[in-house]
Amino acid sequence: MKKYLTAYSIALQETLQRRWTLLMDRVGGFAVVLSLYSFWNVLLGDKATFLGYTRPEMLTYVLIINVLRSFVFTGRGWLLVGEISSGRVSSYLVRPLRYEGYALALDLAQKTVHVGSAFLEIGLLVLIVRGGVFVPRDPAAWALFALAAAMASLIFFFLEFAVSTLAFWTSESGGPLFCFELFLQFAAGAFFPLDVLPEGLRRLLSATPFPYMVYFPARVLLQKIPPQEAVRMLAGESAWLAAAAAVAAAAWNRGLLSYAAEGG
């Protein structure tokens, strides 16, 4: 465990050291949130609710998107693709560590910094927007949200990890990874609440793990889901997490069997 904590600590320092890269990443993310907020704000107009969301609820959804995008969708998939394709992954295979654990430690370091920044941006947005935000009073809502978000982050990590391992078999795995990440963000509700979609499409998406990544945690925080129902859905999310972890492990192990490297 200590070696993974060391990896986490070093990665955290590295991320904080690259200040311009971090700042630019955050400015880009802030632009996305600002445009989504503005769009929803116009849609709400003088209406009391839109799609069942009051103005504070919708604003909170947009702000939560910012946090969840930073916490869930900050991954290392592209680096893994590069490491496998270039053979750099060999140097990890001979070290006394599990690559998945090492990657997760680095991933967590990146998430730590980005989530911290996301909260700062939220503070800024709350100051400049009108209408206020929805703050749940029930501590259970916060606890369920934290649990849902943590599992969402792990599901994304394992799914992205599994897709990235395609690099073991083909040098063209960047395309599928790009497609996967884009589809995932829309299907997860990272741009807009899935309530806006037609009923049929929403039902289809609910049969996948994607809505658990943003839409579900955000609705839990907004107390749009009764606690008992939320607990039942958390059980479903944990089943998806177990499945994603199993798929990632199987893909990694099979990939290693077909992996060959020359030189050093």
Binding site: W20, T21, M24, D25, V27, G28, G29, A31, V32, L34, S35, S38, F39, N41, V42, L43, F50, L51, T170, S171, E172, S173, G174, G175, P176, L177, F178, C179, E181, L182, F183, F186, F191, F192, V196, L197, P198, L201
Partner: protein
């Protein structure tokens, strides 16, 4: 002069052909990227269409008018991707010493760096977007030939402005050999151009018109077509592009003059 243009057109066609052939060699990767781009386009369209199931107008614009804004954004963005893709590799070009070779070749190093790489997938996705724009323009009430010409002129003006941004980023890379994310921050901020600029609050609208002129790039052409842009704003758009082009080219020349080679 015309001989020079022909020479550069031939050079661009050759390098573009080579880069497209290289891209199409990777079928799985290209298919993934292509599907990803289509998914992004379709999901945003579905989102906008779904929103109009619940409202009549957004910021005073009907579905067709909002679609025109969104399509104009896509046209400008995709043309930039098709013609100015080389900037995405600018840092690598400088750091690996390839820029030194550009400097000794008998052609403009700026065009070699900015325009010699073409994203074939954006060429493929550009055609349906152009077709959809034609359908939307046709279905809007007849607004006259002059409006159509103005729309085309302001769209080309927007492309010139985007070119100025890409030249500035290329110059920044030559000067600093860093800021690999500079072009990505532009991409993220461009996200705000997906919606009509009128959805934003006044200070943001001001910033998008005079600071980071995303509004001039994406909203002005559609507004001019709809007859919502005064002659003064039209003149401002052309003057801004001319000034931005002159400034970015001057910055490029200054950066190249200070360049002392960073590799090779």
């Amino acid at each position: 002069m015309s001989g020079e243009i022909r020479r550069y057109a031939r050079l661009w066609a050759r390098t573009a052909s080579m880069s497209m052939q290289a891209q199409l060699t990777y079928r799985l990767g290209s298919a993934g990227f292509l599907i990803g781009k289509v998914v992004r386009l379709v999901f945003f369209f579905a989102f906008v269409a779904a929103v109009f199931d619940h409202v009549q107008t957004v910021a005073g614009y009907t579905l067709l008018e909002t679609a025109l804004f969104f399509l104009t954004f896509n046209i400008v963005d995709m043309i930039a991707q098709v013609f100015f893709r080389g900037v995405y590799n600018a840092r690598r070009t400088v750091n690996e010493g390839d820029f030194d070779f550009y400097l000794i070749q008998p052609c403009s190093p700026l065009l070699r760096m900015v325009c010699s790489s073409v994203d074939a997938l954006d060429v493929i996705t550009l055609f349906p977007v152009l077709a959809m724009t034609a359908v939307v323009l046709h279905r809007l009430p007849p607004l006259g030939f002059a409006r159509g010409v103005l729309y085309a002129a302001l769209t080309l003006n927007a492309v010139a402005l985007v070119f100025a941004v890409h030249v500035a980023v290329a110059a920044l890379t030559v000067r600093t050999q860093e800021l690999e994310n500079a072009i990505w921050i532009y991409r993220d901020v461009m996200f705000m151009g997906r919606f009509p600029v009128d959805v934003y609050a006044a200070p943001v609208r001001w910033a998008l018109t005079f600071g980071v002129p995303i509004a001039v790039m994406t909203s002005f052409p559609a507004k001019a077509f709809l007859g919502l842009l005064s002659p003064a704003w039209i003149a401002y758009a052309f003057a801004l592009s001319a000034a931005a082009l002159a400034a970015s080219l001057a910055y490029w020349r200054a950066s190249v003059a200070r360049y002392t080679s960073s590799s090779s």
